[in-house]
């Protein structure tokens, strides 16, 4: 089947627009459990931007999955994502306002848009496998950013949001890994 043997890291291009993200990403992608305090956290407004973009992308991809997938496990995952990220988006918005930062934009970044665009073209088992693969990758990336800000972010208010976000993302990552196994992804 086309796509099923692809290396997910090779196929899904995730660039690192900022140095701190490259460090966080590198740790996430090679599966290291680097100590949180070793990481360089993003500045607060970049954390807000990255978290808001993750929320936006996660929700859009899950909406795509609810409409496109026939797999009950994929449906359950997608619904969970929409519910949780709708809440985290609101918590982030409130925290940003409290910290005197502008309300985060409802937009994804261009790499996430490329992932969503590639997902939009698929159907059936190929859709499920690609969605699961992308979700594992996206949550590893989001976890890296969230953990680094939770440990050493410069804004205590946003740090609290990040600390609450870490277990949510960890749980989503576990679910995504289970989903990837269930749909036969690699």
């Amino acid at each position: 089947m086309i796509g099923s043997r692809d290396n997910p890291l090779g196929k899904c291009k995730i660039a690192a627009p900022r140095p701190w993200m490259a460090i966080a990403l590198a740790a996430a992608l090679i599966g290291q459990t680097a100590e949180a305090q070793d990481r360089i956290p993003p500045p607060p407004r970049y954390f807000v931007l990255a978290a808001a973009q993750s929320d936006q992308y996660e929700i859009a991809a899950a909406q795509d999955a609810l409409a496109q997938s026939q797999n009950p496990q994929v449906h359950a995952f997608a619904q969970r994502i929409i519910d949780d990220h709708t809440k985290s988006r609101e918590a982030l918005r409130q925290a940003a306002l409290t910290s005197g930062l502008p309300s985060p934009p409802q937009a994804m970044d261009s790499d996430q848009a490329a992932l969503l665009a590639s997902l939009q073209s698929l159907r059936g088992p190929n859709f499920d496998r690609t969605y699961a693969k992308q979700q594992v990758l996206a949550h590893r990336q989001a976890l890296a950013v969230e953990q680094s800000f939770a440990s050493a972010g410069a804004d205590s208010n946003l740090r609290r949001v990040a600390r609450l976000g870490v277990p949510m993302i960890q749980h989503h990552l576990e679910l995504a890994l289970q989903m990837r196994t269930a749909v036969g992804g690699s």
Binding site: M108, A114, Q120
Partner: protein, 334 residues
């Protein structure tokens, strides 16, 4: 509905009978506010929230789909486009003029003073009737010529009939297209491939060939290409290559027709909310998140391309030929 600026043109005209005469009356009644609300004269709206954003309801229609049955209904400029005589006295034929970008062009052309013939498939009659009524409400002649462009004989009949009923032809918009999303090219049947090639490549060949003998210096041809010409989606293997061909023939014909005083240009839309998408052109999941990948975060509406078609048709655009104008929401080329 998305929020709008207090003095948007849309709100100003709401409640007024649609049509050029009504719009002209509104302008005459309050020239100052009319000036302040015309987008070309300083009106401003947030492009992210000007029109509906995803998610959209899951929906599908049998090909070719009707704009009137889409949720939300696309905006082709029915209540918003205000003309200013930019195409006065011109005679236009638009294929696929019942919905989508073709419909937006038909409404705009009529309000700019052109007589307009539209072609569409017979099953698209409900959409086409609305367009005919809008053209007539603008005070212009409307000609409806239903038929399938996959037949050479019909394409020739279409041009001859339009020329006869309009009394000439100096704007041709080759816009009708067939698009069917198929994830694997091994699942593209010979019949589907032929359908797409006939509609998107052969028909423009037959129609332009038949139209040219009727076109005088100053006439303009506009072909609808796509962002797909430059950055194809994997599930649009067949459609995307026809749009690359369209982009290409715009450039070869510009070289042929420049010395004859006839201009030809292309329009390259990004993701636009049209029946083509909900009738097999895109997967259901893509419909729900349609336009979410664009930096503006939403699909374009046909009305947002109307001004491009007018620009490429009007005499003020006289040095523009062999070019492709885009409306991509921040993604794609050209």
């Amino acid at each position: 509905m998305p929020p709008e600026t207090p003095y948007s043109r849309r709100q100003m005209i709401s409640g007024v009978t649609v049509g050029a005469a009504a719009a002209a009356a509104a302008v005459a009644a309050s020239p100052v506010s009319a000036q302040s609300v015309s987008p070309s004269k300083g009106g401003m709206q947030d492009p992210r929230t000007k029109y509906p954003q995803p998610p959209f309801p899951v929906q599908s229609q049998p090909w070719p789909g009707l704009a009137g049955q889409m949720t939300p209904r696309p905006d082709h400029g029915e209540t918003s486009y205000v003309g200013s005589g930019r195409l006065r006295g011109r005679k236009a034929l638009i294929t696929g003029g019942d919905s989508g970008m073709g419909r937006a062009a038909a409404i705009a052309f009529a309000r700019e003073g052109a007589d307009v013939a539209i072609n569409y498939l017979p099953v698209e009659e409900p959409d086409a009737r609305e367009v005919v009524a809008l053209i007539r409400a603008a005070g212009q002649k409307a000609v409806a010529i239903p038929g399938d462009l996959r037949e050479a004989a019909f394409c020739r009949h279409l041009v001859n009939s339009a020329v006869a009923q309009l009394g000439g032809l100096d704007i041709l918009v080759s816009n009708a297209g067939h698009q069917k999303s198929t994830p694997s090219m091994t699942d593209v049947s010979d019949e589907d491939f032929d359908w797409t090639m006939k509609t998107n490549i052969y028909a423009p060949f037959w129609i332009i060939k038949a139209a040219l003998p009727h076109m005088q210096p100053g006439a303009a041809i506009i072909a609808t290409t796509s962002e797909q010409a430059y950055d194809p989606s994997p599930d649009l293997y067949d459609y995307a290559q026809t749009k690359a061909a369209t982009m290409n023939f715009v450039k070869s014909l510009a070289k042929q027709l420049g010395p004859k005083g006839i201009r030809i240009n292309g329009v390259a839309p990004g993701p636009i909310w049209t029946p083509l998408q909900v009738s097999g052109g895109a997967s259901e999941g893509k419909i729900v998140t349609f336009g979410a990948t664009a930096p503006l975060g939403r699909p374009g509406q046909p009305a947002e391309l109307a001004g491009i078609y007018v620009r490429l048709a009007e005499d003020d655009g006289s040095y523009t030929t062999g070019n492709v104008y885009g409306a991509g929401g921040g993604q794609g080329q050209p």
